[in-house]
Amino acid sequence: MKALGSVAAMTAAAILAAGCGGGPAGGGGKISDGKVVLAVLNDQSAIYADLSGKGSVEAVKMAVADYKAKYGDKAVAKTVEVLSADHQNKPDIANSKAQELYDRQRADIILDVPSSAAALAVANQAKTKKKLFMDIGAATTELEGAQCNKYTFHYGYNTYMLAYGTGDTVTKDGAKNWYIVYPDYAFGQDMQKSFTAAVKGAGGTIVKADPTPYPNDNFSTFLLKAPTLNPKPQVIGAMQAGGDLVNLVKQYNEYKLRDKGIGLAVGLMFITDIHSLGPDALAGTKFTEPWYWNADQQNRAWADKFQAKTGKRPSFAHAANYSAATQYLEAVQRGGTDGSDDVVKQLEGHKFQDVFARNASIRAEDHLLLHDVSLAQVKPSSEVKEPWDYEKILSTIPADKAFQPASPACKL
């Protein structure tokens, strides 16, 4: 019985190997399988569902529609298909789905993939399958660091950008003494490192940096400690995210630390967090924003289109998905093929402008997208004129300063 099974298995393996022999990776062939397939793999039912989720699938569809409208009959990719899968924020499902999307559904590129474990797993699949992967949802710099690879691009934001922009500008604006509280896991530790470097680089001092438990719903210990430190910090740099950030800010207000002359700067803030807390709870807080829907006319016009489709204002992740899909299709157009190696060649070092990415370029050394980002401040509710109108853009952090230099650990 068993012997029979293994013979059958070996035959099957042989057939399969033969089938794969043609290999979609090589250049030359125009469009593999006669169509270009973009797959959005993200979290549509767990913690990142609001930030990205189905909205990003819609954004990618908008990119495809705009591409077709732009090139019409001249489009290299005549048939473009958009697939989507929900990894439920489970890395193992992300990993299996990514393989299936590449192998069975003939996806040419996977987009989004929030949360770092899932993103790094998919990056490894992209490397093995020699297909493209543009990560938007994950913040880890590992994607362009030790675990970078030829077929993986990191698009939109990362922990360095979040920490650097805020730490540098707020320090230069006069807040020299910092008390940093960071959640005690990889993301928080990365943020703390980059933040400290940025503050010191701008001439500031870290009075103290405390790790906090994660998840945590009681930050009183640290908030009570802040005014007792010597010298007294002028700002608390909070590196928490999501629910923990909301907890921390609620309690920060509870202790009225702002009235005691201790400001708040936040490492990672999404517009959904401001919506959660209400703008008044955060009014005055500064943070780095990869993209804001109401920053200028161009963004706003796109946000209106997005709202017409989804009924919501876009987060930066939605716009980044739109931009990534657009740049991928443009690369296919320029190279005249969807062969992975050719597309990579087209993308590396490419300079461009679009609704998401200004003064943008894709760094050839590590495949990180560099683009202008903003230092934003939360408005008090008295200045909020319409739903989701929560942010004031204070300054632009130019692309070449906003991101870290290419890491020597990355060898493509």
């Binding site: 569902a49 009681n218 999501g242 629910g243 009225k256 807390l277």
Partner: protein, 287 residues
């Protein structure tokens, strides 16, 4: 330092309300209610929904939400829990686990996973001078409510006939039944009461913690550890352990930040090694 200790007690207040409900439910029904964290979450959402959709303020929510959730608890007991009470308690543990998944996802479906805004009641937005230090009025209020509820429960349990029955059924179940005391008619109200307490904790949490569908999930595991430390069969023990753990985690955050998360579990292991039935539990409750 004193201020930190006080802040630990406030954290402990939430554990206490949840642990008290968990303990009386376990006592009367032999059920460990996994959905307790989900009801805590529903309490917070109840307050949020009342405020955002109906403009009902915090004070009304503080009374109304626990009542409604208590009724929901009564329904749950009558319709589902009751069917499984005669079986191995594991079945009810699994049932309530399933229910917590459903409740959590229903709320997520409606409101998303992002946290919802909930302001502090304006009456409590100031700070109180407590002699040695000033402290946010709202947190003092939370602590006072929790202490009053626990003290009230204690009075009911020790001074009234209902209380005696509940206590007897909780701490000496076989003996109580053997004496022919009709425990059954108190089962449903006690279950409803336990759920109402979780709802109350949720309403109290709304102004100071993130209101989202996942807020109860991790908390319930800590509360499990709390009642194991206190002794699941002991109402007094659970409440005492709750405040104690609150205190210890607050000080742990201060002095041992890297292990503060595991502190409660290390403590649990130590207690189990020393007294398997918990600090205030009875050995015979184990078998």
């Amino acid at each position: 330092m004193l201020q930190q200790a006080f802040n630990g007690l406030v954290g402990g207040a939430f554990y206490a309300l949840l642990a008290l409900g968990l303990a009386v439910i376990f006592g009367m029904l032999g059920v460990v209610n996994f959905a307790h964290g989900a009801f805590y979450m529903l309490g917070a959402f109840g307050a949020y929904i009342l405020l955002s959709s109906f403009g009902v303020n915090f004070w009304v929510a503080l009374i109304a939400v626990p009542l409604v959730l208590g009724l929901l608890g009564v329904l749950l007991e009558r319709l589902l829990i009751r069917r499984l009470v005669q079986l191995d308690p594991l079945y009810n543990f699994l049932l309530t686990f399933g229910i917590s998944l459903i409740l959590q996802d229903l709320v997520r479906r409606q409101y998303g996973v992002q946290s919802q805004p909930y302001p502090r009641p304006s009456e409590l937005s100031g700070s109180l001078n407590l002699g040695l230090f000033t402290y946010p009025a709202y947190q003092v209020f939370v602590l006072v409510v929790a202490v009053l509820v626990c003290a009230g429960a204690w009075v009911v349990l020790t001074r009234t006939r209902v209380g005696m029955i509940v206590r007897a059924a909780t701490e000496r179940p076989e003996l109580t039944r053997a004496l022919g005391i009709d425990v059954a008619r108190w089962v449903t109200p006690v279950f409803g009461f336990g759920i109402a307490l979780a709802g109350l904790a949720g309403v109290l949490a709304a102004p100071m913690r993130a209101v989202n569908p996942l807020m109860g999930g991790d908390l319930i595991i800590i509360v499990f550890a709390v009642v194991v430390i206190g002794g699941l069969g002991s109402i007094f023990g659970s409440v005492t352990a709750a405040f104690g753990i609150g205190l210890i985690t607050a000080l742990g955050n201060l002095y041992l930040p890297t292990i503060s998360q595991t502190l409660v579990f290390i403590l649990m292991a130590a207690v189990l090694l020393w007294r398997p039935a918990g600090l205030f539990g009875r050995e015979e409750a184990l078998t």
